[in-house]
């Protein structure tokens, strides 16, 4: 992090007019408090709302060791609702932080975990494991999803780097789109050759938050925590990368190495999310943008806020998914896309107008 110190006091293009250090600190504190509070509120709503009506007083009482919940209600809260809230938070945080990282590392506002082929790769890996009948082997699914995600982004990287133009963000994104289509086609091919597994594959891809328990939480937690930790620690690095390769190099960054660290960490988070929850769209795209637009902050702050707001956002989306048509469920991807697509259009309009 030697180069980081050189950045102190450097005016950063893209960030809003530099506020005084004190004001920046106040803003950081204010937004951090808001984000933590939002996450807390989301968790509380997530715990209180559900297909089954359970008195909030009873839930609070149970959390403090007493209360009037029946055994069945305790089982519902402790084994179904709570792990689902925690998992939704983890997945939301993972997708948001990786979206944030991809956008900065590739300097492209439209980059998200899915555009670059990591999710398609994770889907392919998971499909192969299911088709081979190895889905029950411990860790086989998340491992395959992780390798697939990394392979997807790696391929996109290779494609872009062989272009004479070099690893510009545009060629990377194009590479990512091509790789994503290719891997999705491969995944569809493998799936169609094994139509007996069609339902299991679809069930995996369309998301599994509804069937999750603590097992999935423990599966995802270490990877998501590791990735979030790495990206939080590299938040200055992200800011440098988002300036562009030449500028970053002139500021002392090892562009290729730094970008690799960020991409690996983001892919790790994506893979963990896909492995336990299937493909959930738009979260990685809209949360970092919403944070940037709302706070006007640079990537240094956006990384951390994306984690918190991403967790809160997906917890609330999941609340809608399991209450709107209760006792039925809506696929969570429908909720995130219904909110995400119009937002995407808004971001496009705004970023277009800025040029």
């Amino acid at each position: 992090m030697k180069h980081a110190s050189r950045l102190e006091g450097t005016h950063l293009v893209g960030a809003p007019a530099r506020p005084s250090a004190a004001r920046a600190r106040r803003r950081t504190v204010r937004w951090t408090v808001i984000a933590v509070a939002s996450l807390f509120v989301a968790v509380v709503i997530g715990l209180f709302a559900g297909a089954v009506r359970i008195s909030p007083v009873g839930i609070v009482g149970w959390m403090f060791g007493g209360g009037s919940l029946t055994e069945q209600q305790k089982a519902i809260v402790a084994e179904l609702r709570l792990p689902r809230v925690v998992l939704a938070g983890l997945v939301g945080a993972a997708l948001s932080v990786s979206g944030c990282a991809y956008q900065a590392a590739f300097r492209n506002p439209l980059a998200d975990p899915y555009l670059l082929g990591s999710a398609a790769g994770a889907g392919l890996g998971a499909t192969i494991v299911i088709v081979l009948g190895a889905a029950d082997v411990p860790l086989a699914l998340p491992a395959a999803a992780f390798l697939g995600a990394l392979g997807g982004v790696g391929l996109a990287y290779l494609m872009a780097s062989t272009r004479a133009a070099g690893r510009t963000s545009t060629s990377l994104l194009l590479g990512g789109v091509a790789v994503a289509s290719f891997l999705t086609a491969l995944q569809t091919y493998v799936q169609q050759r094994n139509t007996d597994d069609l339902r299991a594959v679809y069930a995996f891809i369309l998301g599994r938050l509804g069937t999750s328990g603590w097992h999935e939480v423990w599966l995802a937690l270490p990877w998501v925590a590791l990735a979030c930790g790495v990206l939080l620690a590299s938040r200055r690095l992200l800011e440098v990368l988002s300036l562009g390769d030449l500028e970053a190099a002139s500021l002392g960054a090892h562009v290729a190495r730094d970008r690799a660290i960020v991409v690996i960490a983001a892919s790790l988070a994506t893979a963990a999310a896909v492995a336990v929850a299937g493909l959930i769209g738009f979260v990685g795209l809209i949360v970092p943008h919403a944070v940037r637009m709302a706070t006007g902050a640079s990537n240094r702050l956006v990384v951390g806020l994306s984690i918190l707001f991403g967790a809160a956002f997906l917890i609330l989306c999941d609340v809608l998914a399991r209450t709107v048509v209760a006792p039925g469920e809506l696929p969570i991807g429908v909720i995130t896309a219904l909110i995400g697509a119009p937002f995407f259009a808004l971001v496009l309009r705004r970023s277009g107008g800025a040029r």
Binding site: A75, P83, T195, T211, A326, P327, G328
Partner: protein, 324 residues
């Protein structure tokens, strides 16, 4: 543009070739007599009132291609199995069915025509199967998913008529009906007030009583917990795990033992499910996905399996009440 033009012309060329192949084939088929012995001297040419409109058969079909696993089961059940030359990739029952690689999901008229059929039976037409077969002058009969048992009997009899096995089909349909009524009678009032959860896959997709399988199970007097979610979807809602646990159904019917490798042991290990009555009292019933998703004659065996469990559960109830 020139290149695009030639690509666009390709399907036309292909269908021309296919038509040519069929024309050649049909001249040779007349010499190939089917090995079956029809039970009735049916009057051909005949016109059948299919779900896809009037279907005219010039002679007794001896080269049937079945694009529906259910139709395949029915054809063999009514004694028309010898007349089936090819069945789609899912037609895995009975074992003597001529299963091929033909896909019922993405039916390919050309691949079907390759078997020189004089009748094609299908359950779903996802695209232009019917119109393609029309162009190839291959008679096709649609036997879509049944909504009730009466549809099942009617389909069996229609297939019997079309294939020259009308009497046998009637006998088989009546036998099936008697079998179903037998199960319902055996169960009697045991199923009254009993609830069940029917599982389509391990993400808790279920069926309401508006579906065929839901209606059939309803014959036993069971209450379906998914009916609460009727407003959510057209018969196949995804249920919330919380709701299933709260509803605590007497029976858990697993129609995902093949697709998703579920069994009673795995259900017991699901978070929050270990204390469910069905799990504790042996009320988790492992069904055959294939039988459960079709509307063929084996549906009676499935109903028997569920009926037995209903009686066992009723016995356990009575025992528990007497003992406690």
């Amino acid at each position: 543009m020139h290149r695009f033009g030639s690509v666009r012309g390709l399907p036309l060329l292909v269908s021309l070739f296919a038509a040519f192949a069929v024309a050649c084939a049909s001249s040779s088929t007349s010499s190939v007599a089917g090995g079956s012995t029809p039970t009735t001297a049916a009057a051909y040419p005949m016109t059948i009132d299919g779900a896809n409109g009037k279907v005219t058969l010039d002679a007794m079909p001896t080269r049937i291609v079945s694009m529906s696993p259910t139709a395949t089961e029915m054809l063999f059940a009514i004694g028309a199995g010898d007349q089936v030359v090819a069945a789609d990739s899912y037609s895995d029952y009975p074992s003597e069915a001529p299963t091929t690689k033909l896909s019922a999901y993405e039916p390919n008229a050309e691949a079907i025509a390759n078997y020189q059929p004089d009748l094609v039976i299908y359950a779903t037409d996802p695209g232009d199967l019917q119109s393609s077969l029309d162009k190839l002058k291959i008679p096709a009969l649609s036997e879509p998913a049944a909504a009730t048992m009466d549809d099942v009997y009617a389909q069996m009899e229609q297939l019997g008529m079309a294939t020259g096995h009308a009497d046998e089909a009637k006998t088989q349909a009546d036998a099936l009906k008697a079998k179903i009524e037998g199960v319902v009678d055996d169960v009697g009032d045991a199923g009254k007030g009993m609830t069940y959860y029917y599982e389509l896959d391990d993400t808790y997709y279920s069926v309401t009583s508006d579906t065929f399988i839901g209606a059939v199970l309803g014959e036993l007097g069971l209450k379906n917990i998914a009916d609460q979610a009727k407003g959510a979807s057209s018969g196949y809602p995804q249920l919330s795990a919380e709701y299933i646990v709260q509803a605590d159904p007497d029976l858990i019917l697993l129609a995902d033992t093949k697709c998703c490798a579920q069994d009673a042991e795995k259900v017991a290990k699901r978070p929050g499910w270990s204390d469910l009555s069905a799990v504790k009292n042996g009320g988790v019933v492992e069904l055959d996905d294939d039988v459960a998703s079709r509307w063929g004659p084996r549906i009676a065996d499935l109903l028997q399996q569920v009926g037995d469990s209903v009686q066992a559960q009723a016995g356990a109830h009575a025992g528990a009440q007497a003992g406690g």
